[in-house]
């Protein structure tokens, strides 16, 4: 009688991959819905600091930046002054229906003087934009 010589059963280790495609497509749908394309490269700047800033959840209609050299950008495109901003923002907000669609993100270097930022802020307000002034939390 042969004892202790049991033959070990070999089990094949197959990973179930049939549903991988489904998972992948679900992930794609998730990223498609959550994506917010980076419309502009942020120019170099130091943002102002405050303990009152809150996470911005609203949809942004336009982005206005003023870098540390005082150069003004509208959606990544360099513009000359507040008048250009007003015309550009007005054009972007032309087809908006509700207030929720009129949020304009405003980023400005903390060291800029009044002559640079105030005409731009006024231009956004004149164009009917709701200003979302970006800053950093303290």
């Amino acid at each position: 009688m042969r004892r202790g010589l049991k033959k070990k059963k070999r089990r094949t280790a197959l990973v179930p991959v049939a549903s991988m495609g489904d998972i992948a497509f679900l992930l794609i749908i998730f990223f498609l819905l959550l994506s917010d394309y980076n419309k502009e490269k942020s120019p170099p700047m130091t943002l102002p600091v405050s303990n009152k800033v809150e996470k911005l959840d609203d949809q942004i209609a336009a982005r206005v930046n003023i870098d540390r050299d005082g150069v003004i950008y509208l959606d990544g495109v360099r513009v000359h002054d507040g008048k250009d901003i007003q015309a550009g923002v007005e054009a972007l907000l032309e087809r908006t229906i509700s207030d929720d669609q009129r949020h304009v993100q405003f980023k400005c270097d903390a060291s800029q003087p009044k002559d640079v930022y105030e005409p731009v802020l006024q231009a956004i307000a004149e164009a009917g934009g709701i200003i979302e002034a970006v800053g950093e939390d303290e």
């Binding site: 794609i28 994506s35 980076n38």
Partner: protein
């Protein structure tokens, strides 16, 4: 001699090859991961009325914040940012309506945006509406 096509027709299955679907899908995922901005910026919402400014829009008793360089003045008295917040909170701007929510904001030319931003944040966080005061030329 054998005739061409004389035999039974070759039966081809009409299945779509889906073996590479998951590869395509994962490539798309990688693309979306790279292209997505998940970081949300932090901001304050500054409520500024649009339209041409008029002198009549500001009442005589409208509270005014003056920014002189790095200095903050509220109702012509020098205050710190904390005191400014307390004073604005005491005005109960949220419960008020129309013109009574308005706070005048005036800055000198040498006022940096950092100070202006803090004043804007103080006004908006207390439910006020910002009215920019322009210098007369």
């Amino acid at each position: 001699m054998k005739l061409k096509n004389s035999g039974a027709k070759k039966h081809r299955s009409g299945e779509i090859p889906t073996g590479s679907f998951s590869d395509i899908a994962f490539l798309l995922i990688i693309y979306f991961i790279v292209a997505t901005t998940l970081v949300k910026v932090k901001s304050i919402t500054a409520d500024m009325p649009s339209g041409e400014a008029t002198q009549s829009s500001a009442r005589d008793d409208t509270p005014a914040i003056n920014l002189v360089g790095d200095e903050i003045r509220f109702k012509d008295k020098r205050v710190t940012l904390d005191v400014l917040n307390e004073r604005l909170a005491a005005l109960n701007l949220r419960d008020k309506e129309g013109d009574k929510k308005v706070i005048l904001l005036e800055a000198t030319r040498n006022t940096p945006y950092d100070v202006y931003f803090k004043a804007l944040a103080a006004i908006s966080s207390n439910g006020g509406i910002v009215a920019i005061v322009e210098e007369e030329e």
